[in-house]
């Protein structure tokens, strides 16, 4: 059987590895995988063609060699990565989606970033229940089987952690879009509208808020206004067609489209209806935005319009030299669809419209491309998204002017990659 892709245990982001760029740490693997053969002298026949390859001669493994398929061993570097020093312990920690290795709009299930507050709960679906209680006509308990008998919907939504790019509030810090923007994934969910379940129990007129609570050992809980609960929230049990992954809340999670990832309670086991918010730890101590005057905004739920160039980027340098070049990236907004993405190669002095390709769905990632003829000179690459509400992605300076340096959450500022003549890219900020 073929070698399984494995997490590169040696890759610990540190000053050194960031400095030497993804080139050595991650890009090297990519170069080896796809760049081979580029340096042939003209006129020399390519052994990739002239030599008989094993795979061309001998049969490969039969069906069922991997009953649950895995990626090619040549893609072994495409993994989630963490930054160990960010948190005290991997049980309450985070890892990041390798955005620079993906294309299109869907994030594969095994690459969706993880954030747990007490590790991955391993929940037996046969013993999982969803309870609805509080200000309802009849408190109810559902089994997983009950849930799957309600009318289902399929929806593609992005999930972004409110702290995505949070390390960059004070200035460029982490060298790689996996680390600066990778608390993000985009998945097609299958589930039941929360509204349908609430109506089954009957919300009393005094019910203005819900509390969503998880079954894990952190007992994760968030208050959500009833308008949102009755609008587009989804109680989901499938992601990209298969059962949720344990680390994404198996067997059932809440989707709160367009709003910060922490509210998308995993291992969802209880919905309580009440007349006031609960003010639990994740909406007071955390996920409140400290402003320069020392006061703090609370209930900052929506994720604002944002985009990032994923290729090239520090972990994905350009290895082909000058000539026809593709810049690509993703754009998204918690306020709806993306109307337009602009790309600048001179640090925001001049902008061109990028081409959006693939489905354009509300509160979902959009894929954009910008193609040009690179002359090999150094560039400052930026992207700027505009959503259907007309909100324009701001610069980081504009955000700091409004919110100071200690806000942590909701950093949707424009990212700059400094593309050098040798094809390496670096995380910078420009005037």
């Amino acid at each position: 059987m073929s070698k399984q892709p494995q997490k590169n245990k040696n890759f610990v982001p540190s000053r050194r590895s960031f400095l030497q760029g993804g080139l050595t740490a991650a890009g090297g693997a990519a170069v080896a995988a796809i760049g081979g053969g580029a340096a042939l002298a003209a006129g020399t026949p390519d052994p990739a063609i002239t030599e008989l390859k094993d795979w061309n001669q001998y049969s490969g493994p039969g069906v069922d060699a991997a009953p649950y398929g895995v990626p090619s061993p040549f893609e072994a570097h495409v993994v989630r990565r963490d930054v160990p020093w960010l948190t005290a312990d991997p049980i309450s920690s985070i890892n990041f989606t390798p955005l620079h290795e993906l294309d299109g709009i869907i994030t594969p299930n095994g690459l969706c970033f993880e954030r747990h507050h007490s590790g991955v709960a391993e929940v037996d679906p046969a013993e999982h229940r969803l309870m609805i209680n509080g200000l309802v006509d009849k408190p109810l308990v559902f089994t997983m089987q009950d849930l799957m008998r309600f009318p289902r919907e399929n929806r593609v939504y992005f999930l972004e952690c409110a702290a995505n790019s949070g390390m960059e509030w004070r200035g460029a810090q982490l060298n790689g879009c996996q680390f600066t923007h990778g608390m993000l994934h985009n998945v097609m969910y299958t589930g039941v509208r929360l509204r349908t379940l609430l109506e089954e129990a009957g919300v009393k007129p005094a019910g203005k808020w819900i509390l969503a609570e998880g079954a894990d050992a952190s007992g994760m809980g968030r208050s959500i206004p009833i308008e949102k609960a009755l609008d587009d929230c989804l109680v989901a049990f499938k992601m990209n067609g298969e059962a949720l992954r344990p680390e994404q809340g198996y067997p059932v999670r809440l989707c709160v489209p367009g709003w910060e990832g922490n509210m998308w309670v995993k291992w969802l086991r209880r919905i309580e209806v009440g007349d006031k918010p609960w003010q639990l730890r994740e909406e007071t101590s955390k996920y409140t935005d400290l402003m320069p005057d020392g006061r703090a905004r609370r209930f900052t739920w929506a994720m604002d319009v944002k985009s990032v160039i994923t290729n090239p980027s520090p972990q994905a340098p350009i290895t082909h030299g000058r000539g026809h070049t593709i810049i690509t990236g993703v754009a998204w907004s918690g306020h709806g669809k993306i109307k337009r993405v602009d790309v600048s190669i001179d640090g925001g002095r001049n902008w061109q419209h990028a081409r959006i390709d693939g489905p354009s769905l509300s509160r979902s990632l959009h894929r954009f491309y910008y193609e040009f003829n690179w002359d090999g000179s150094p560039l400052y690459l930026q992207s700027r998204a505009i959503d259907e509400q007309g909100y324009v992605q701001p610069t980081k300076d504009a955000l700091r002017a409004a919110r100071g340096d200690n806000s942590i959450y909701h950093n949707n500022g424009i990212q700059t990659w400094y593309l050098k003549s040798n094809g390496e890219a670096e995380n910078v900020e420009v005037s």
């Binding site: 209680n133 810090q173 007992g219």
Partner: protein
Amino acid sequence: MSKFLKFTASIVLLGAAWATNANAQDADAGEKVFRKCAACHAVGEGAKNKVGPELNEIFGRVAGSLEDFKYSKAMTKAGEEGLVWDHDSLTEYLAKPRDYVKGTKMAFAGLKKDDEIANVIAYLATFSESAEQAAAESESAPAAAPVETASAAEPAVNAADAVIPEHGVYHLGREALPEEIAAWDIDVRPDGVGLPVGSGTVADGGVLYDENCAVCHGVFGEGEGRWPVLSGGFDTLTADRPVKTIGSYWPFASTIFDYVHRAMPFGNARSLSADQTYAITAYLLYLNDIVTEEDFELSNETFSEISLPNEENFYPDDRLEEANFATNVEPCMENCGDGPAEIVMRARILDVTPDGDEENGAGGID
């Protein structure tokens, strides 16, 4: 004929696999139990000391003998008096750590189930050479029955016999019983709704805190290593590096009770009674100078007397008022900004990324 042969062969193979897995299954179950320990202990290749010592080669280790770990006096003494970790001593220690080694600083109540203890020990044995050998010689523990997993479907009831409830639109689910709601609905709001009946004093809370919380959060709530800081940080919210604690930042005392009751101690959530949680909450208020008397008693009745100093400094999201949110503004497309763009910050210069896992003062993920 050939088909039949292949069939028997695969059965024999399967049987063999199960037989040799007898020990492994035990240890597999133990790997899950070990999650209760993993907040504090690492085991396996490259395991380092965390809150507790690493547990490689624990069989045959003299208690409290790792040189690079700071044990309690009690544990060091137990080792000096001859305590060596083996199957029996581990069994007793893990059932009731504080009874077996009086004064141990392992803030863990103990494993309640015998099979959990046996399984976690079997798991630890796989990282101890001496134990592996002993196990090979002695009789193996009984294996759990292999689980049939081909189909997860439950046996069907006769469809016509299914009872259909009256409620709702789809008549799905059933009414939640009061005992069930009581078991899960433990949330507490700032107005006191949800507080259970009970009480506890600052003094009681101090004892409980030292036993259950101080290993991570520090004796004064200052936070050990990178574990969260729970006290202090007053007047730092406008500083360059704000320290957000219960005293300096949190708006409501109810959040302390709710969170500690549902999620702490880390790795052993929901193990504290209502009285214990009142006592610990009172102590955390004391560590933050919000109450000052050691005999102060926090209860469902005195709770409303408490308010936190930073409460009024929270206000609803008003982002949309920022200039950044102006709509219908056509952003500049050509010759924007003054002169060509120049680098003002780069990961290289502003890089506060430490090597490896050194202390790091930069913005965390919260």
